[in-house]
């Protein structure tokens, strides 16, 4: 109940949650557990069901099926105003007919907390907007409105704070600055944050745990490092950073590794880094893990070597150079090479070989869209 709000965060559990809209399934058997006190990011492209998930947790939408538990308590049928949850809305939703201070005090007044104005003022101070309490929302910039929305939710010390793309409307610079502030505030207050975003960099920078959503399902969940290092689906491997993916039939199986054959080349992955060991398998490698050679190198079994191919595009992005290499029968491969000050030694059209360490390969559970199972 609203009265018994915790000072520390509580954990959130979604069990088998499904949401159908007329003619459309927005969430499909979603299971999720967020430990108390975590900064948890829900990452996914627009339309994948992130907002719907938050609305179900906040009680603004009723799930078609499944349970929602906060701090172990089933709140599936609890009204939004009785849930120990607060939301920072995508559009901020500040009340235009109230001052900033009254906006922040709204939840406190509703819960009949003592001295709401002083607590609201403290909340505004926390987001460094203590001096504009008397203004109206329309008089604030986007960044300021965002902070007020945050303060309005935070002052209630909810067990769980829901943030729906709270930085989406801000320009890049302000966005990076707010990411740092938001993270600092979360550490300071120790509440559970469920942060929704479609910006992978934002999710990776801020969250303890990231769940990648696609088409109403969670594709993979884990720490940002783990997700990046070992994506398990084609979608994750491409939504989080870039990946080179190769699809082929397993041609060789050893105790510790499997290899597929693609266009005459052998691509190997460690078994413990592969989800699937038989049939048609997709194996990937991050562009920065690959290197290219102008002469065919002599490498051992701990490397994957493909080529020769031709450099068809070079981009200089400052810190690194991006090379696009076309290898006959295999396709295009992207390689990032650190820009260490030397002028690039290779030119467009150069003939090169590409290699990477087997330990950097990852094997996917599924195949990328548009590729066929080879039987």
């Amino acid at each position: 109940m609203a009265g018994e709000l915790s000072v520390a965060g509580a954990d959130l559990e979604l069990i088998d949650v499904r949401k159908d809209f007329p003619g459309f399934t927005a969430l499909d058997d979603m299971d999720l557990h967020i430990p108390a006190g975590q900064f948890f990011a829900l990452l996914g492209p627009s339309g994948c069901g992130k907002t719907t998930t938050l609305r179900i947790v906040a009680g603004l939408e009723t799930p078609t099926q499944g349970r929602v538990l906060i701090g172990g308590k089933d709140i599936t049928d609890t009204k939004p105003h009785d849930r120990p949850v607060n939301t920072v809305f995508q559009s901020y939703a500040l009340f235009p007919h109230m001052t900033i201070l009254e906006n922040v005090a709204f939840g406190l007044r509703q819960r009949k907390v003592e001295d709401p104005l002083a607590k609201a003022q403290a909340g505004l101070d926390l987001v460094e907007l203590g001096h504009i309490g008397a203004r109206r929302p329309q008089q604030l910039s986007g960044g300021q409105q965002q902070r007020v929305a945050l303060a309005r939710a935070l002052v209630n010390r909810p067990s769980l704070l829901l943030l729906d793309e709270p930085l989406g409307a801000l320009d890049l610079k302000l966005r990076r600055q707010m990411q740092i502030e938001l993270k600092a505030i979360q550490m300071e207050v120790g509440l559970t944050f469920l942060h929704v975003t479609h910006d992978q960099e934002e999710a990776m920078d801020m969250a303890d745990t990231v769940a990648v959503m696609n088409k109403g399902r969670i594709e993979q969940m884990g720490s940002p490092e783990a997700l990046y290092d070992r994506p398990k689906t084609a979608f994750v491997s491409r939504f989080l950073g870039q990946s080179n993916l190769f699809v082929g039939k397993v041609s060789e199986e050893n105790p510790n590794s499997v290899s597929i054959e693609v266009g005459g080349a052998k691509i190997t992955v460690d078994k413990k880094r592969a989800e699937k060991h038989t049939g048609t398998v997709a194996i990937g490698v991050r562009p920065e893990k690959a290197t290219f050679h102008e002469e065919k190198p002599n490498l051992g079994a701990d490397h994957v070597l493909i080529g020769p191919g031709e450099i068809i595009d070079i981009r200089f992005t400052g810190v690194s150079n991006q090379y696009l290499i076309e290898i006959p029968n295999i396709g295009e491969i992207t390689v990032f090479a650190q820009n260490v000050g030397k002028s690039p030694v290779v030119e467009l059209g150069a003939k090169v070989w590409v290699s990477w360490k087997v330990e950097h390969s990852f094997g996917l559970r599924d195949l990328p869209d548009g590729t066929e199972d080879l039987g």
Partner: protein
């Protein structure tokens, strides 16, 4: 040549403002006339200018029947405005915020009264009351006024509801307000400007209505009815006083809100 084309484009650019000025003066002419003749020391009929006097203004109720008619009009307009605004606001919220099966039918049904000439609505209600054995009078008049104001209220408030972001109400629910608190603390204050202008419109329509009132009021006299009947023999200058003061009051309200909102906007820009 050049001077000529300059002159021509000048006239062209100037002609629209000049035309608009003339059109506005045309619209205001009878208003000026009515106000000026409220100061006329009229002999028998208030049709020819005689001499300036304040008597009509200081002595509005010299015509007792006029004053009681105005009293009735105020009463009828006030009651019907309250009822029409309440019913219409509820309808407008339902029509914008909820999807239900007969929604477009309801929308159309609410448009129909606006597409019905007053004489048809007036005669229809009169025939209903007649057939039901209820004589014309105060209550039938109020009922009729609510009916023809209702659609206008719905249209006006609907426009306001459409601009209301549903996320604001959800934010209220999220911040521990139960449904009735959400309505009174968030929805209603935000709809208020629309509701007020609907009420103002409603009042103006009702206060000025003649045809529907004529068919349903029986012996109850109203301000428009008084003028209609008096038109045969000559309208007393006190009627001009009443109309002028209603006009000046309404214009003052409108101007005051406009000027205040203008300066508010200016101030907002300034702070930003």
């Amino acid at each position: 040549m050049k001077a000529l084309s300059h002159l021509w484009s000048g006239i062209k650019r100037g002609s629209l403002p000049v035309y608009s000025l003339i059109a506005v003066v045309f619209l205001l002419t009878p208003i000026f006339y009515t106000i000026i003749f409220s100061f006329n020391k009229s002999l028998r009929r208030n049709t020819v200018w005689n001499s300036f006097t304040l008597d009509n203004w200081t002595n509005i109720c010299a015509r007792q029947d006029l004053c009681s008619a105005v009293g009735n009009s105020l009463m009828i307009s006030l009651i019907s405005t309250l009822i029409a605004t309440a019913l219409g606001t509820a309808l407008a919220i339902a029509l914008v915020r909820y999807r239900f099966k007969l929604r477009s039918t309801v929308n159309f049904a609410l448009f129909l009264p606006m597409a019905t000439p007053e004489i048809v609505m007036g005669a229809g209600l009169a025939s209903l009351f007649f057939n039901a054995g209820v004589g014309p009078g105060f209550v039938p008049t109020v009922i009729a006024h609510v009916m023809f104001c209702l659609s206008f209220v719905v249209v006006t408030v609907k426009a306001r509801v459409q601009t209301l972001d549903p996320a604001l109400e959800e934010a209220g629910r999220d911040l521990y307000a139960n449904p009735s608190q959400v309505f009174w603390k968030i929805t209603f204050p935000l709809l208020l400007p629309g509701v007020l202008s609907a009420a103002l419109l409603s009042f103006a329509l009702s206060f000025d209505d003649f045809i529907i009132t004529y068919f349903n009021s029986g012996s109850v006299n109203t301000f428009p009815k008084f003028i209609y009947v008096a038109a045969k023999g000559g309208v007393p200058a006190q009627a001009n006083v009443i109309a002028s003061s209603v006009f000046l009051l309404a214009i003052l309200i409108v101007l005051a809100t406009q000027i205040s909102s203008h300066f508010k906007r200016k101030r907002l820009q300034h702070i930003k």
